[in-house]
Subunit: 438 residues, 4 copies
Amino acid sequence: MNVIEKFAKNLVDQIADAGEKFLDLRRLRSKSVYSTVKLCEELISHKGVASGIALAREIINRYRQMTGDDKLKFFVELKKKTGPDIAAVSKLARIFLKTRDEERLMELSKQIRAARYKLFNRLNTAPGGTAAIVHMREDLLQFLPEHPELKVMDEGLKELLTSWFNPGFLVLKNVDWNTEAAVLEKIIRYETVHDIKNWDDLKRRLGDGRKCFAFFHPALEGEPLIFVEIALTKGIAGSIQSIINSENHFEKDADTAIFYSINNCLRGLKRIPLGDFLIKQVVNELAMELPSIKTYCTLSPVPGFARWVREEVRRGKSELIPQEDLEKLKVLENEKWYRDPETRAVSEEALTRACAVYLVRVKRNGKPIDPVARFHFGNGAQLYRINWMGDTSAHGLKASFGLMVNYLYDLKHIESNHEAYEEKGVPAVSRSVRSLLG
Amino acid sequence: MNVIEKFAKNLVDQIADAGEKFLDLRRLRSKSVYSTVKLCEELISHKGVASGIALAREIINRYRQMTGDDKLKFFVELKKKTGPDIAAVSKLARIFLKTRDEERLMELSKQIRAARYKLFNRLNTAPGGTAAIVHMREDLLQFLPEHPELKVMDEGLKELLTSWFNPGFLVLKNVDWNTEAAVLEKIIRYETVHDIKNWDDLKRRLGDGRKCFAFFHPALEGEPLIFVEIALTKGIAGSIQSIINSENHFEKDADTAIFYSINNCLRGLKRIPLGDFLIKQVVNELAMELPSIKTYCTLSPVPGFARWVREEVRRGKSELIPQEDLEKLKVLENEKWYRDPETRAVSEEALTRACAVYLVRVKRNGKPIDPVARFHFGNGAQLYRINWMGDTSAHGLKASFGLMVNYLYDLKHIESNHEAYEEKGVPAVSRSVRSLLG
Amino acid sequence: MNVIEKFAKNLVDQIADAGEKFLDLRRLRSKSVYSTVKLCEELISHKGVASGIALAREIINRYRQMTGDDKLKFFVELKKKTGPDIAAVSKLARIFLKTRDEERLMELSKQIRAARYKLFNRLNTAPGGTAAIVHMREDLLQFLPEHPELKVMDEGLKELLTSWFNPGFLVLKNVDWNTEAAVLEKIIRYETVHDIKNWDDLKRRLGDGRKCFAFFHPALEGEPLIFVEIALTKGIAGSIQSIINSENHFEKDADTAIFYSINNCLRGLKRIPLGDFLIKQVVNELAMELPSIKTYCTLSPVPGFARWVREEVRRGKSELIPQEDLEKLKVLENEKWYRDPETRAVSEEALTRACAVYLVRVKRNGKPIDPVARFHFGNGAQLYRINWMGDTSAHGLKASFGLMVNYLYDLKHIESNHEAYEEKGVPAVSRSVRSLLG
Amino acid sequence: MNVIEKFAKNLVDQIADAGEKFLDLRRLRSKSVYSTVKLCEELISHKGVASGIALAREIINRYRQMTGDDKLKFFVELKKKTGPDIAAVSKLARIFLKTRDEERLMELSKQIRAARYKLFNRLNTAPGGTAAIVHMREDLLQFLPEHPELKVMDEGLKELLTSWFNPGFLVLKNVDWNTEAAVLEKIIRYETVHDIKNWDDLKRRLGDGRKCFAFFHPALEGEPLIFVEIALTKGIAGSIQSIINSENHFEKDADTAIFYSINNCLRGLKRIPLGDFLIKQVVNELAMELPSIKTYCTLSPVPGFARWVREEVRRGKSELIPQEDLEKLKVLENEKWYRDPETRAVSEEALTRACAVYLVRVKRNGKPIDPVARFHFGNGAQLYRINWMGDTSAHGLKASFGLMVNYLYDLKHIESNHEAYEEKGVPAVSRSVRSLLG
């Protein structure tokens, strides 16, 4: 319980004891969604700091106890009640259109954002306020697909959280076996790329020859926002199983850091950019701590590859895969193709070529369709190598026929790679992968 | 040097070493104000994270080295170059006026704030970014009186800083003789209400029977934002000299905490509300730490009192001071009035009455004209007592004829006091002071 | 790696690099036990600090790699080589007997302890030296039963460790789910009274309504020395299963702290008194943190009870158990006695009476034969209650027919209890238990 | 207030509240020295832990309030009352002389040290116990010259403190402007080699291009034991004024660390070796932190030089100074010799030669008579250079005619230097100084 929490707790008690009624929480004691929205309106217009905190706390507590349906109702109602004052805004807009004056514009902008912005800034003063707001957004995001009208609420929240979770406020921490159990438990829970089975498995992931870093925010103590797992290897590893399953994985002559798993922890921070910043900070941290590490590289999945290949094979022709390869890839229709050495031999080259094509040439809106490729190309990484049987788990075989990919982070080139990719849409590709593209 | 600093340092070096030119800092090497504004524009449109940090860092470094004149030029130019796109904004405003649709409104709002908001959020990613932005605002505020057109820039900055310095992100810390010297040095520097002469004086202020609390922000390490000094006394102290000058000031049966000095440290955070929140948190902290303390009270100056009284005496008549008192107050025209016991005797009652009237009835825009009174009434405090010869320093005698005032923070009543003051303009006044009002 | 470690590491490397030979580790490179003892002798007579650390480090590293047999050989040899100089000691003894002078006596004392004392004090300067010495004693203790001649070595070590682990140097820490995993792992490992099955079980033991405290030593970071587990309950709990197995164990009106498990972690600290001090510090800590807790009490096993009862039953007569009860206790010969309600009914009272007798009257050397009773009586606790079916685990039923005992720590009486027990051998016993004694 | 303090405080209160009398502090309420010694005897024989702490605390509190005379009485009386039991010791000594058995010897040793050892180990359990014991030794040392019979008490204390302050338990900390004021205040107070005038002076000493490190003990929080001040310079500095007086002393290309002041803080730790260990740890720390620093060197005073030279000049002849030089040195009889350029020119070479002779050849008990030389030679340092006008302060001119000396710590040679010095008495001397020796 931090100071603010203690403060609010104490104060609310005292106010209650004194029998004061100005918060009039009793009147709203129905705890209906509507009365909670009413509290929000009160908080927006409220001027007292102390009871402001009490109000914020009451709202957050009520929100926590709402069912999913009530939360939806709450957001729908809140949107209505905290929306901009259309008349006032229209008036200011008309004035601006006449004067074309920047000061009027600022007033207009303020008027547009007034209510909701104030609401969330004040909710944040409650104990646990930041965490509560992140949870609210998590809920809100789930409602969006069916309730697109709530998107305007998310816009405001996203903007606010982007400002609060500015990289300048984040703290990078080493996560290891000396980290508090409460944080490690979250690492186990949020690792979704390559599952951590239990605490023994976790200990292995944090042992010699392994590293893990996470970003934290000062107002969310004990709450990792995003983390990356790293293996220190001799040479660039191509098999995820060799990393995850090995018991004793310390390599004395390690010269490479393999980033094999990055996970976001809080769904309420979706689309708040943290990942690109994390990778680069960690590269830098490792460069100082372990000067013998010369190469920084990922070992990444190719999530949509198998689906794409299957579709091309099904269609029987492809603009991107040569007909000859397409024929060979028909063996993949047998679900157990990988068990037969001959089938594997037939398909290996064709599959690897198809993967290179998929990552570099299959696009949507001018960008690679593969989300992992898009992320790393956008960061200025280079597609370095495609690894045959890089992930032999059931999932890996199903999603990408067992292929895994290395993206290389070469500090000397990430900026020029990034520039070329952003401006001309040309992803950085190693010579060897280029040769696969024909 | 924190992680981000190390990161940026290292990365900039590496980029430089690699001879990359995409930042093209060389082209802009002129370091003119205009080239620096150009870097700002580049930062706004930039997409690479790593070189984004490098850019932000370069801008901040250049800004630091600017002369005052150049800083003014910089802001004037920056205002022009990062202002909203009037054409685009006008178009969106017109669309909105037709559709009256909230989504359009969000787009409009985004468009209005786009450039500057992004600029400062990105500058913040640089090492020491937050501190640099606070310093920028400090400079900007100094230019405002002569350059009111820059006000729109300050509006944006103020909004951003209010969000970043949300009370939910502040950390309350005890300041004592075990605090790091670098922080204590700032306490000495920023104490302007009752000067701290040197380190010995400071040690006395932090000794037994004294307390000091400050707010810190996680991104401004070692930088107190606002602090309050407290004396633990037996009964409500009425003399500031008895607090500040006493050598051995521990009182065994202390039952009262006297808040005798509150100071803001960073001019760049002007009008970002911190003070009201600080007092209430400290009250709460003390309540837990020292349960024997039952009363929380200030010992405050009355800055504009002497000027007002002199003016009334000069005019020879007053709407608020009875004629009889006004006559007595003429003795104050003698600069050394307080040295003569008789003069003191004559004036004491009249002065004290006049002070009560000044604090409660002399208003501007419906609020007390005295800024200290305004602050504490707004917080829900009660004007408790007026102390004759409460400040016998040269300054105290000059500014308020030596009067000091206690404002009482009674947790049971601060909210109702606050409410009455905000809604009806009625300040909370103790029975004894009320009797002075006649 | 702390500073000293880094220091030693660096320095040893540097010395090696410089090709210096004065340590002449090469000559001793055989790494035989004898050469290691030689290094010990060299360390005792050595004067250089830097190479002293290097020497200490080398000895510790070699010791770590020894087999059990070699360790035994090492101690036997070390005892010979670092024993007191009998001639010198005899001479000083004779001088003293003549002069009866205290100064001579100090010289004599110094001469007696010289070598070994110096050896261990110098070994302690190596990185990880304290931990290494504790491990050495652990090994040594295992050899003692078969090699009583080594007891003189243990005497010296025990004295040294008692001084180093003086309660004034220990740090009490709260152990909870925010404790580092490396420490929690040790809590799981060293809990031998009531096994912790896995991490989920541990989390339950540290959850709401539960507390855990441990002593640490500054030189043994991350190494709990002894810890106690506590349940906060409403009233004095009598069943260990109700404590250990409950899922949701938070009791709102808890007024009692049940100390249900105390464990020493380091066998190398055997007979260094830590436990009595721990309990009293924890009582004090809880008194401050949780003022609503009024009663401090253990829930303890009665380890040797079943054996003793079985023996009395087997003999068919007893000085301490009335014949009538002895008859009833025969039902216990059936291993499944507790499954039959009738048998349980028959035996309950007799067993409870026998337990009271066992704890209070069955003695060895004037003290209760039961080690747990001896510990708590010695601490000034009162035997408060005997709980029927207090431990229904297989182990509990076997060792003590399922009985568990509460020892009450009443701060007001622990000293007088202690005094009476130490001076007159009278243990403190509650009225209700006294009534069982007939 | 740490846990133990809180514990003791609380417990003593509780015991008192309960009206228990077993401590019978009342009977001893006279607070005479004799009653306090009685409490010590009681503590030695006492068995209860809780009241043991209370006893220890009472003794320490009483000791603190004693006058100097009472302290002396206390030690004299304590020596008598806690001395070894001569009869018992004699008996054991005789047994040993017969059996010549090591076990008997251990018993004898235990018997000799029993009382006092136990006393101080138990005093240490009181809050602030360690600090109190260190203070006791400080007092005791002052009495020794006049009361040599107390030496046996100091022997025991020294042995105990040497064990407690084993380097393995010390913590090296960087002292800078971010260190707590309470520690910095002690740095100002304990700096006796080159006075720190005030806080501004201190800030300069801790600024850019300067370093300060101190050893701390975990049980003496906020209490530096010994510290060293360092200047980072380009080349080996020869003038202390250039280090101490310079305003802006950061040198970009610094390659040398000059250790220009080492100070012990606690007189109660006299003859507990800390200094040699400190220098070597700091060298190591700097080697890691500032790899550009290649040379580690002192700038040290030559305290007894002037006195020795004056004596030789007075005698008119010298075994160590050539007659020709002795003639030149006569100019030093003029107290203002250094103001006259000619006199300076005459004496420079002769003085420098005499200094080399003094440091290397003037011995007592086979070791250099100069204590600073003895310390550094013993550490394995090399006498590197003698600096003309190295200390032009009044004190420097008086004590050593302004000469200062550099001792070089070359990690590659400190051990061989140390060895040669310890075994053959040959100090390490640079080629240039050797040439001065003729």
